[in-house]
């Protein structure tokens, strides 16, 4: 203020010196294929497909864990306790080296490596994340008073109807918060798919860091990219969780 109207900014900014932007971000133009957006798009696809898959599989596992059939309960418990204690990297590497290379599982794309490993990565992420979804939903089921299921049985609903119509809808509503955490963790966990060469964001980041000097900037760009993906998810689900809360 004291310096009067003729004073110019003391430090050059991208606004005052457009050429600076070109110097700093110049390296990005080397990454047209795969591009930054393209890599994040793969991350989004990995996240979305794995989220849908693990919600379905995790819900089925939770249903098994509360089922009256001992064999199903046993399977559900064993699955969760084994899978959630194995590092994700090991699971993803197993889908690629074990399933694909040794057992020849190709998930419908034996010749297209890009598609094959993408699908295998989704499979691994679903298998892993479902264990956490299952436990979140099971804790939600435990918040539903037993009287709800009893009243449902008393009007003649079958076990699966009681679960589908009464218990799970209430359980889901009470675990949207914990499920948001699982979903955010999943988004970040997709970076493990880089291990088997899926061209998502982390793989591109690794490549860029190897080739460029601006390591901190590259890190910041990718960190920002993940925050852009996860923050709205968290905020939206937080809002939804409040809106759908079951009043007792």
């Amino acid at each position: 203020m004291r310096c009067g109207p003729t004073r110019t900014a003391p430090y050059p900014t991208f606004a005052t010196h457009p050429e600076a932007r070109e110097i700093v971000f110049d390296f990005l133009s080397d990454y047209d294929d795969p591009s930054l957006l393209g890599a994040f798009w793969v991350t989004v696809q990995l996240t979305f497909l794995s989220a849908v898959g693990s919600l379905i599989w995790g819900t089925l596992l939770a249903a098994m864990r509360v089922s009256p059939v001992p064999l199903m309960r046993g399977f559900g418990a064993a699955y969760v306790n084994i899978v959630r204690n194995i590092p994700l990297t090991v699971i993803i590497v197993f889908t690629s080296l074990g399933l694909a290379d040794i057992f020849g599982v190709a998930l419908g794309a034996p010749d297209d490596f890009e598609v094959k490993y993408f699908r295998l990565a989704v499979l691994g992420l679903v298998a892993y994340t479902a264990a956490f979804v299952c436990e979140a939903i099971r804790s939600g089921i435990n918040t539903v008073p037993v009287g709800q299921a009893e009243a449902a049985r008393a009007i003649g609903l079958s076990f699966s109807q009681v679960l589908r119509l009464i218990v799970l809808p209430q359980a889901f509503r009470s675990v949207i918060g914990p499920l948001a955490n699982v979903l955010i963790a999943l988004t970040k966990n997709t970076t493990v798919a880089a291990t088997i060469g899926v061209a998502e964001a982390a793989l591109l980041m690794k490549e860029m860091i190897e080739n460029e000097a601006q390591v901190l900037l590259i890190g910041a760009i990718f960190a920002f990219g993940f925050i852009v993906l996860t923050l709205p998810t968290g905020l939206f689900l937080g809002w939804l969780s409040k809106r759908l809360a079951v009043k007792r």
Partner: protein, 258 residues
């Protein structure tokens, strides 16, 4: 005594609807139901009374098989209770149940609570189910609350909705497990009135309650339970004014002082 035999003749004429024969049930070492023999005729209203922990709730719950039994048999309208699966679910629909804690489906509106069983169990189409639900809600006096959620209703209103929900299945018999015990005193009567009307309309009812006014005015018979056994059965007036067993005398002296 003559009153008792009149009641028995009535029962034979109307036919037996619920028959328990030598029913036994344990919870671990606890023998909750001991050789229970109980027959309830079509249209009969039976009040079950007894100290806390005597097995009244368990008795109700075995009748629609929310609890299994260890030995003996239970038949509803001549059909034995199936072990599990579809047949059991269908039978449960024939036995309406009203709980002490209402247990309305918390994530559904009052109207949806009363429609759900009709649609999913009786396979009634939606429009018909809604029409019937509204009629029943009107009958129990909560028609104006149809679009609210259970948590927005008073206890008395919730319990009346629970009665409507059970009635929507056209049950052959209704079980009430202490339906007014969780209610504030000023709401007890609105629920009892609905139950009294139901009794007058000829519904077969098994009611666990300590409401003597209801027992005297609506019940054909009082069954007194203690320690998992049926200790005494009598018509209400006789039971309340002239109990035969010491357990019943002792119990009545305690509740009458309240």
């Amino acid at each position: 005594m003559t009153e008792v035999s009149v009641a028995k003749e009535d029962r034979a004429a109307n036919g037996e609807l619920v028959v328990l024969k030598s029913v036994n049930k344990h919870f671990g070492a606890l023998h909750v139901l001991q050789d229970i023999d109980l027959t309830i005729a079509r249209g009969e209203v039976v009040v079950v009374i007894g100290p806390s922990g005597s097995g009244k709730s368990t008795l109700c719950r075995t009748i629609n098989r929310l609890e299994t039994i260890d030995s003996g048999s239970i038949t509803i309208d001549g059909k034995p209770l199936p072990a599990e699966g579809k047949a059991l679910a269908r039978l449960r629909a024939d036995v309406g149940m009203v709980f002490q804690s209402f247990n309305l489906f918390a994530h559904k509106t009052v109207l949806e609570n009363v429609m759900l069983g009709q649609i999913k169990v009786r396979k009634v189409d939606k429009a018909k189910a809604e029409e019937k639900a509204r009629k029943l809600l009107d009958r129990v006096g909560v028609a104006s609350q149809a679009d609210k959620y259970p948590a927005q209703l008073s206890g008395g209103q919730q319990q009346r909705v629970a009665i409507a929900r059970a009635l929507a299945m056209d049950p052959k018999v209704m079980l009430f497990d202490e339906p007014t015990s969780a209610l504030d005193p000023e709401m007890i009567n609105e629920v009892l009135e609905v139950m009294q009307q139901l009794a007058r309309d000829g519904m077969t009812m098994i009611v666990v309650t300590h409401e003597m006014g209801f027992a005297r005015s609506a019940a054909n018979r009082v069954v007194f339970m203690a320690d998992g056994r049926i200790v005494e059965e009598a018509v209400p007036d006789q039971f309340f004014s002239n109990p035969r067993s010491d357990r019943a005398k002792d119990f009545l002296s305690k509740i009458l002082h309240h």
